[in-house]
């Protein structure tokens, strides 16, 4: 569903990606952990096609239309209302905004408020709705839990679990091992542009993964 082959990329003299290869099959969720500056966001951008890697190839089945992206930034227009934002992005994908999306994320009563009037947590929920409105088959998530309140974090976890159960693929990058492990079927550790660990999670809990992560990164 998603394949990376020998990805290499550097910014000036800084090597952000160094020989990264992996595949993600339908139904799998790959969680990539790494400290800041390890190249996680660059990797995600290469997978999304936002950055052309200097070497190697990244392929997503179904192309750009198949990708849903949730990043640090909500990618919303602050002066527009929630509904107007979603309608705009839906129009680019040639779909209409699915009716139950707003209710699933608890956004119905906020639909006609401008995004700039919403709290950080609500904005992030709108960003999630934005990423899911075209029913993507591959989700790319960059620190998606940052800034989410408890309710929204649980809603997102539930959505991601459904997404995986429906035979779709997810790649999630974060520096927080506690957040991502529960959802992952596969785990990778990234340091200085390289995968230093890549294996199925195989029932490991957050604590065990966290310990291995600290050992691998240190």
């Amino acid at each position: 569903m998603l394949r990376a082959e020998g990805l290499r990329h550097s910014f000036g003299a800084v090597r952000a990606l160094d020989e990264i290869s992996f595949t993600v099959q339908p139904g799998q969720t790959l969680a990539i952990f790494g400290p800041n500056g390890a190249g996680k966001t660059t990797l995600l951008k290469v997978l999304a096609g936002l950055i052309q890697p200097q070497r190697g190839r990244a392929e997503v089945a179904g192309g750009r239309r198949a990708i849903g992206w949730i990043g640090h930034q909500p990618q919303l227009y602050a002066p527009l209302t929630v509904r107007e934002n979603l309608r705009f992005w839906a129009s680019l994908y040639g779909v209409s905004v699915p009716g139950e999306l707003l209710s699933r994320l608890g956004l119905e009563e906020h639909a006609d408020r401008p995004v700039r009037a919403l709290s950080r947590g609500l904005v992030q929920r709108v960003a999630i709705a934005r990423a899911l409105l075209h029913d993507p088959t591959v989700l790319l998530l960059d620190e998606p839990f940052t800034g989410l309140d408890r309710v929204a974090a649980e809603a997102l976890s539930r959505l991601l679990a459904q997404h995986g159960a429906a035979g779709r693929a997810t790649v999630l990058v974060t520096h927080n091992v506690e957040e991502g492990t529960g959802l992952a079927t596969h785990v990778a550790f990234m340091r200085a542009g390289r995968f230093v660990h890549f294996a199925p999670r195989a029932g490991r809990g957050p604590q065990q993964v966290g310990e291995e992560y600290r050992n691998a990164i240190a």
């Binding site: 910014f11 000036g12 003299a13 800084v14 200085a192």
Partner: protein, 227 residues
């Protein structure tokens, strides 16, 4: 580094020959009748103007190929060519008024060719400022290439717009249809000077190219040292 040294040598040879051009122009070339000694500046002014414009064309061509190949050498060459073009524009813009004062009786006039060179100069300055304002090397190269291509395409339009103004400028003497109406001694001095300016362009560009290559290497070492 070999390339830097080569560039220095070419430039030194060019400068020595430039002195030669002036010895020849002052001592062995007849004084033009209507303009007198002021005409001697023509041996500096016109070759510099020709190379100032050609340099922009080279910036544009290198930019086109850069966008296709993403080869950093083309970007380095475009930057070097733009810097040299800026210097040549500055030469034209200073020698022009020096000649204009005795001949036209004024330092500056919105004459077509002078105005054209001024806009060319502004194009170069914008290009160099844009390069200075972007920190990421890949983005800098892409942005500069976009501006370089636009700049090259802009040149004919500036020509079109400035030539609608009335001009006091001497009409082309060398590059006009038919045989040049210039005594052979003057023409040969001028051709000699054009050759020297070509040499100077090459020498400067090679040096700038080598310097920016060295700086990139140093930056790379510095960054790796910090990480």
């Amino acid at each position: 580094m070999r390339m830097l040294r080569a560039g220095r040598w070419i430039t030194v040879v060019g400068l020595v020959l430039l002195a030669g051009v002036y010895v020849r122009a002052l001592a062995y070339t007849p004084v033009e009748q209507s303009q007198g000694l002021a005409q001697k500046i023509f041996y500096l002014h016109v070759p510099a103007a020709i190379w100032a414009e050609l340099a922009m064309v080279f910036v544009g061509l290198a930019s086109v190929f850069y966008l296709f190949t993403k080869d950093p050498r083309l970007d380095r060459f475009a930057a070097a060519s733009a810097e040299v073009g800026t210097v040549f524009c500055a030469i034209v813009l200073t020698t022009g008024p020096i000649w204009g004062k005795p001949i036209w009786g004024t330092w500056w006039t919105w004459d077509a060719r002078l105005t054209f060179t001024l806009f060319l100069f502004l194009l170069y300055v914008g290009y160099l400022l844009l390069r200075g304002a972007v920190t990421d090397p890949a983005a800098r190269a892409r942005f500069a290439a976009v501006l370089g291509i636009c700049g090259m395409c802009e040149v004919p339009f500036i020509h079109l717009s400035v030539y609608m103004f009335p001009t006091l400028h001497p009409m082309p003497i060398v590059l006009k249809p038919g045989a040049p109406s210039l005594p052979w001694s003057m023409l040969s001095t001028w051709l000699f000077s054009l050759g020297v300016f070509t040499l100077l362009y090459v020498g400067f560009v090679v040096q700038r190219y080598a310097l920016s290559y060295l700086r990139e290497q140093l930056e790379a070492v510095g960054e790796v040292g910090h990480a």
